[in-house]
Symmetry: C2
Subunit: 255 residues, 2 copies
């Protein structure tokens, strides 16, 4: 697909989890062809360097002591730039389709009659799994993989986590470090065993990546003791074999 | 990371959903440096062309009239090749961490003392969402995204789908076309409304991609009428606003 300069175009481009070489070839092509690049603090500076020197760069993230751009302001800006006939690239960390607030920008572009596309990216959970060498699903152990978040739209109820506490489920919590006590309590109250293995991966795929292994029962304490902060993935597994092992232990105790 | 020829190495490389430009830069690098490339029918021929002409190519997928390679045979082959000091790339469609059977190959490599890595890839659900311009999560509408499958290890119980029938959930079913009647019945029996929107995307990101929109209540009939076959993603959403709208209708009827 080519985008002649005379027609404005908006691409919501997945910048991936951090490492520059986890960009897709399509993302690289869009960045190299960009007239305007919008980015936030989660996008690695190494990725910004891929754009031509003449590309206008606009930081729309949170500055120290300043407020984050409201979504509506970003929506208006990308539309205004595209209306000038420019190729606008809105970089989003990870995959724009997963907790990327892409809907608002797509709606704004469509309302203005501007062509808009999503370029998928590697989401943080995939990068975390690759880094620790542990897949997100394991045949015979986990058949359902859930991506959910610790933080919701203000005023919304938190996601119902009780239904996730089920053998055969693996879960990646995004942006959940500050709500970790609630996540742990919700899952355990619903029957997830304290022994469920948990891998915490912060800043997956970057040179600041860190990996801590713990269990569901020790999760809050581990987060506090290790001083873990967002962006982090909490990768919590409830393998079928753990459920079977606990059931057989329970049977012995009951007998 | 460099892999000198004298040390064998195994990379489980995500080939992405199909389109060559949805490979990551790291995947491209591994393919270009491969001495041996193992692939199956889901990997696009255009991706195979990226390997040097001297690379040994081994097809481990299902041939017409022949059986698929058993997993153990693949495990033994990648280890044997790496022990010769070769750089082995096992290409897997999508992301090796999601329904990629990566565990077995990682375990075989580790047991043999061979360095093994996962190179993440774009999973089919992300590509499908990008193609249809509809994110997998929508702020205020869906806060939990579930990837699950229609087919399990033989002898295993099917995933418990009842708990997925919950407002705020979006679901991507992989390889579920043949079980679609059961998926539809399980979700509706658990309370998911017939009006839940469904997008069916076959062969996402390839030139054979096809997109059909339907509803949960009409899903089986649509699959049959349209002659849809795997590989397909069934992207089923239960938005919070749909739950609210149905609740208010119910209230009016009850009053």
């Amino acid at each position: 697909m080519t985008h002649p300069k005379t027609t404005g175009h908006i691409a919501l481009v997945g910048a991936g989890p951090g490492a520059r070489d986890l960009l897709t070839l399509r993302a690289l092509e869009r960045i190299r062809a960009a007239d305007v690049l919008l980015y936030d603090r989660l996008v690695d500076p190494a990725i910004m360097e891929l754009a031509p020197s003449g590309t206008e760069r606009i930081y729309v993230g949170k500055d120290v002591g300043a407020c984050k751009w409201p979504q509506g302001r970003i929506d208006r800006l990308i539309v205004a730039k595209a209306k000038l006939g420019l190729r606008v690239v809105r970089l989003k960390s990870g995959d724009p389709s997963i907790f990327g607030r892409a809907c608002e920008e797509i709606a704004a572009a469509r309302a203005a009659g501007i062509e808009v596309e999503i370029v998928p990216g590697i989401t943080a959970a995939s990068a975390a799994a690759a880094s620790i060498g542990r897949p997100l699903t394991e045949r015979g152990e986990t058949d359902t993989f859930v991506i959910t978040t610790g933080t919701c739209k203000p005023g919304d109820a938190a996601p119902d986590r009780a239904r996730l506490a089920h053998p055969g489920t693996s879960m990646a919590f995004y942006m959940a470090v500050e709500r970790v006590a609630q996540v742990q309590a919700d899952l355990m109250d619903a029957g997830a065993p304290a022994a469920c293995p948990v891998e915490i991966v912060t800043r997956a795929s970057t040179r600041h990546e860190r990996h801590v292994a713990t269990t569901l029962g020790a999760l809050s304490k581990t987060i506090a003791a290790e001083g873990i902060a967002n962006p982090a993935i909490l990768f919590i597994r409830y393998p079928k074999s753990l459920a079977r092992a606990l059931a057989s232990t329970g049977a012995v105790i009951a007998a």
